[in-house]
């Protein structure tokens, strides 16, 4: 991205032929169109409302090479993978290294009937035609430069299909590893998750790094939840200190479906999540749980949006943030209730805990309501640890660091408690402790 390095346009020209699925005319057009739009508009800048608090100019001075330009991905030791698994959980596992599926590190042998987990690259090369609807219909409403680049360069990712009435008892673990290669790499991932009528599953998108080298991960995940289906979706980010992560998450829900998102952002130098959930069928419900933990000079930006298109849908959103050091957090929660969406029940809350005087949060809840018979609420708080409570705990023999950890754990407790997968809950509890110990 630096002036001396290739521009996205030049990179695209040289890599276009190597992108998967280039035999498909619709996909070529999709990629070309996205790149065309990117070359017209470029990267977002602080002048864009949605990027007001997230300035990527410093990032653009660094150069990242698209990982797909490498002959093969860096070898990762199985022990490095094992260390990132949820202990004793025995989950089906798909591993991606620097944006590329790694069959040898994965274990998809125990998948239940009716459940498919595959590499998107493979799908695009073998039967890409089947993906046309999924890839073309769900364009984000306000695409920005990173999403356009994702569409242009997407080279792999997880394709997850939960068939009608199929049930995955154990969560499916999708592990995305940044290998810490000498040359800073950019990966472009696209995940497609669809749950057929009456199907039920939990999927964990888990982002990690081996070390703290600079990396760039550009990912878009599309979820389609059909009638009466339910998806528990975990997005866990604990990447290393040099990681930059830009993610789009687009969810479309049919009648009586249920979608629960657990978005834990704790890693990296910079994380940006654009989460957009469309309630398109009556009786649909979505719960968006978020937890962001940042210290040092970390920057975490969550932009969420829920659109109530039809009547009788319910949305709940709880985002909590803990910011220490000189960290910066951004939360934007947008709820739109369309004119037809009577009897909407929408609640949103964002609570923040600042552990240092230099940490900052910009929180912006927004309700946009066009229907008249609805129940909607929103709110946000920013606070610090209560010194009276800290003193009380210390007066009981608990040292200050431990007292702070107890109180932060208590603050995040309800978000963690909503995680129904016990191994992830344990991971989150441990993560909170570990972050505060630094």
């Amino acid at each position: 991205m630096a002036a001396s390095a290739a521009t996205p346009l030049e990179e695209y020209r040289s890599l276009r032929g190597a992108l998967p699925g280039q035999g498909l005319a619709w996909l070529r057009d999709l990629r070309d169109g996205a790149l065309q739009r990117f070359s017209e508009r470029g990267y977002p800048t602080p002048r864009d409302e949605a990027w007001k608090y997230t300035n990527i100019a410093p990032l653009l001075k660094q150069s990242f090479v698209p990982a797909l330009s490498l002959e093969r991905s860096r070898e990762v030791a199985p022990a490095d993978i094992a260390a990132r698994l949820f202990a004793g959980a025995g989950m089906p596992l798909a591993v991606f290294v620097d944006g590329r599926f790694d069959a040898a590190l994965s274990d998809l042998s125990g998948l239940p009937r009716g459940i498919e987990v595959r590499s998107l690259r493979e799908m695009l090369e073998r039967d890409g035609a089947a993906l046309e609807t999924l890839l073309t219909s769900q364009a984000p409403r306000e695409p920005h430069g990173f999403i356009e680049l994702n569409t242009a360069f997407m080279s792999d990712g997880a394709y997850v299909r939960i068939g009608s009435e199929a049930v995955a008892e154990r969560p499916l673990h999708l592990l995305f590893v940044s290998s810490g290669a000498e040359q800073p790499l950019a990966s472009y991932l696209r995940n497609l998750i669809s749950v057929g009528q009456g199907g039920r599953a939990a999927v964990i998108e888990h982002y990690v790094s081996l070390g703290d080298a600079p990396s760039l991960c550009n990912v878009a995940t599309h979820c389609v939840i059909e009638r009466g289906a339910a998806l528990d979706h975990y997005k866990l980010n604990e990447e290393g200190a040099g990681a930059h992560h830009f993610a789009g998450l687009y969810v479309e829900q049919a009648r009586d479906s249920r979608y629960v998102s657990h978005n834990v952002a704790a890693g990296g130098r910079m994380i940006r999540n654009d989460l957009r959930c469309v309630l398109a069928g009556e009786g649909a419900e979505c719960d968006l749980n978020g937890l962001y933990l940042a210290g040092g000079r970390q920057h975490i930006d969550n932009q969420t949006s829920v659109e109530h298109r039809v009547p009788h849908c319910t949305s709940r959103e709880w985002y909590k943030g803990v910011l220490d050091g000189r960290a910066r957090g951004v939360f934007s929660g947008h709820v739109v209730v369309r004119q037809d969406a009577q009897k909407t029940d929408a609640q949103q809350m964002n609570n923040n805990l600042l552990l240092s005087d230099e940490a900052e949060i910009d929180t912006r809840p927004q309700l946009e309501i066009y229907a008249d018979d609805v129940k909607c609420s929103h709110g946000s708080t920013v606070g610090q640890l209560n010194p009276d409570i800290l003193f009380y705990l210390r007066a009981r023999g608990i040292d200050e660091a431990r007292a702070r950890r107890l109180l932060v754990t208590a603050f995040a407790q309800d978000v963690v408690a909503r995680m129904t997968a016990a191994p992830v809950r344990a991971w989150a509890e441990h993560l909170i402790m570990a972050r505060l110990a630094r």
Partner: protein
């Protein structure tokens, strides 16, 4: 520090000319007090006389500017000890206004607290079973139901329940110097007896108590060795148990008239 015949681990609190202020506002104006192992001292006095400040300063609250010619416990300078160190050394403050701690259960608080104290003493942490057995025994002592353990500390507790929770913590931690800061206020007579029972069970040659109270009533149940009257940040009179009865009958106004009792007019109220 040890005195022949004294129980092991017993410590003396020594206070000479203790002064505390918040900004320009002087609250303690030269307290002298010595509390030897096994003794129970009651501190009485009107509102605003500095009783609670003394309790907070003993526990290590950092809101005050503090000076003293001596302020030590077991020979160690208290001003050099963080609140948690004091607690581990055996100082326990039953708060006048116990805080609510949303999201932290009473059982978690007790466990963290007890284990911190045990680690400090070089004892092993209790395992879950032993810990629960211990806590259940202490619960019975303060007549609290087990479900209290699993609720957030003091959250939506009544005033009396909060005070019982303080007594429960004292019973679990078994401190060497317990400071009860108006623990009796807001307690009905049954709870008062529980408090007195709790203190009686802990009372022994190695433990001492500072009982801060407005009312003589508590001292019928916890019989003090000494009673001190605090006024305008100074101990203006010390005596035996009978001093508490005098206060009960006459209030605090007579202190102003008694020559030598107070060097200057008392603070209001």
């Amino acid at each position: 520090m040890s005195v022949p015949g004294q129980a092991a681990g017993a410590k003396t609190l020594r206070i000479r000319n203790l002064r505390a202020a918040v900004g320009d506002k002087r609250i303690l104006n030269g307290i002298d007090l010595e509390i030897r192992p096994g003794e129970v001292h009651a501190i009485m006095g009107p509102n605003g006389s500095g009783k609670s400040t003394l309790a907070q300063v003993l526990a290590g609250r950092d809101l005050y500017g503090i000076t003293a010619d001596e302020f030590s416990y077991g020979g160690r300078d208290l001003l050099a000890m963080a609140p948690e160190e004091r607690a581990r050394e055996g100082i326990f403050l039953a708060f006048q206004y116990p805080v609510e701690i949303p999201g932290v259960s009473t059982v978690t608080l007790l466990k963290e607290s007890l284990n911190a104290v045990r680690r400090h003493r070089g004892e092993a942490e209790l395992d879950a079973m032993d810990f629960l057995t211990l806590v259940k025994r202490k619960l019975a002592l303060v007549d609290m139901r087990e479900e209290f353990l699993y609720r957030s500390v003091n959250e939506s507790f009544s005033g009396g329940e909060k005070k019982r929770n303080e007594i429960l913590q004292m019973a679990v931690l078994e401190p060497r110097l317990a400071i009860l800061d108006e623990t009796d206020s807001g307690l009905d007579i049954d709870a008062l007896k529980l408090l007195a029972d709790g203190v009686a069970k802990l009372r022994g040659p190695e433990r001492s108590f500072i009982v801060i109270t407005h009312y003589q009533r508590l001292l019928e149940y916890i019989v003090p060795d000494y009673v001190h009257i605090l006024a305008a940040g100074q101990i203006v009179k010390s005596g035996g148990r009978e001093l508490a009865l005098e206060i009960e009958h006459q209030g605090y106004a007579w202190l102003e008239r008694e020559p030598g009792a107070a060097g200057r007019p008392l603070a209001a109220g």
